[in-house]
Amino acid sequence: MVTEIKVPRHDVNDTHVIIARWKGADGSRVPKGVEICVVETSKSAIPVDAEREGYLGIACLEGELVEEGRTIGWLADTVEELATVRADHHASTEERIVTHKARALAERLGVSLDDLPQSSVIREKDVRDFASQTAAVRHVGSRATVRELPDDVATDLVDRVADLTPAQVTAARRVMASLHGAAPAYVAVEVEVDSALKAAESLSSRHGQAVRLNDIVLRCVAVAAAEFPAFNAFFWRDQICYYRGVHVGIVVDVGGKLVVPVIRNAAEKDVLALARESAVLQMKAFREQLTAADCSDGSLTITNLSGHGVSEFIPVLYTNQSAVVAVSTPQRRWYPGNGRLVERRVAKLGMTYDHRLHTGAAAAQFLGRVKALMEQAGAALP
């Protein structure tokens, strides 16, 4: 008997994973339950365990980008069965009809036809599309051979070409998928954050735990999302799909690698609980303790560059979401009041939204609600 090893279902945000590492050798006998492979999404590494005892056959090499559900290897009862399934696999990939032009282009670009998505006919366009989408990927896997540059870039202009990490490749693909899968538009408001900062400080000292401006933003966004369910939803096949519960993703930059742990049912938690959970998730991110479950099923996202002196930035939407809120660094401003200038701290709150679901006015209304909640934070934090 032969059992296929498939890419596990991992995250709604990623349709592909990178084969990060095979832990069992090709052809070796592995016991049931041992970790035989690690695949990597844009957010985390996921172990793949042996479903049963058997001889391990490897179909996809380390560094390869593979789509969810694809067979990456086999577990066979006998060496003979493994050889048979391997031969069948190679035959099936070779049986595809590949046009002459497609084969020539693949050779010229150094694209392996085995890497192309499953299809009975491979045309020149398929190869070109694949090559343009996976230019970085070709340099990561062991099949990488070609380091090409765009036609309109002179080679002497480029100092060097470096490999991206598998996580960077996956993240880049996710961003492109997001851009192609949504109609992103942007709106921003200025929020006076003095009362929110005071509330955070007061809560910190009263309860002896870290509460920061971002936690206040998190609470206010979660409350607003519960009030405006269309911003806690996503566009799919001319429909709007509303999420059950507000699950807020928090973008964490771990040494250049972005991870997005998710706080579930955020609208049902108070600021203290959110602050605690957010801080713990960030610690787990840096300790590499996040699991796939920690990073899955976000219904909207908050990204924060307030510690970087950024006055405003436009974030990229995550797939299967329709809003991502960006928190910038509070700036000091002076306003006239009672015959003198009064200092206020003001932060720009931006939001990228899916224009297929939301008009600019609706987005402004949502963000306006977040602003109102934040500015009343000192008096009546929801």
Binding site: A210, D253, A279, Q289, G307
Partner: protein
Amino acid sequence: MNHRIRSILKTSLALEDADAMSLSAASSIHTVGKWDSLGHVRLVLALEAEFTVTIPNEDAVRLISVRHIEEYLASRRVDL
């Protein structure tokens, strides 16, 4: 305040010399501008390395001031 803790705060929060020298037991996440969430993570990891102690994530959330750090390390019987 403890000079080792001051040194760790200076490094992990990327403080200027003058800012590091002005730290006191009362300095906290709300009074030190660079003590943001990312700096806090670096600080906790640096404390663990310096004092050879494991700080559970749930405890790390409560280290909101120099005083809290000193008291916490003392409660863990860390030799400062």
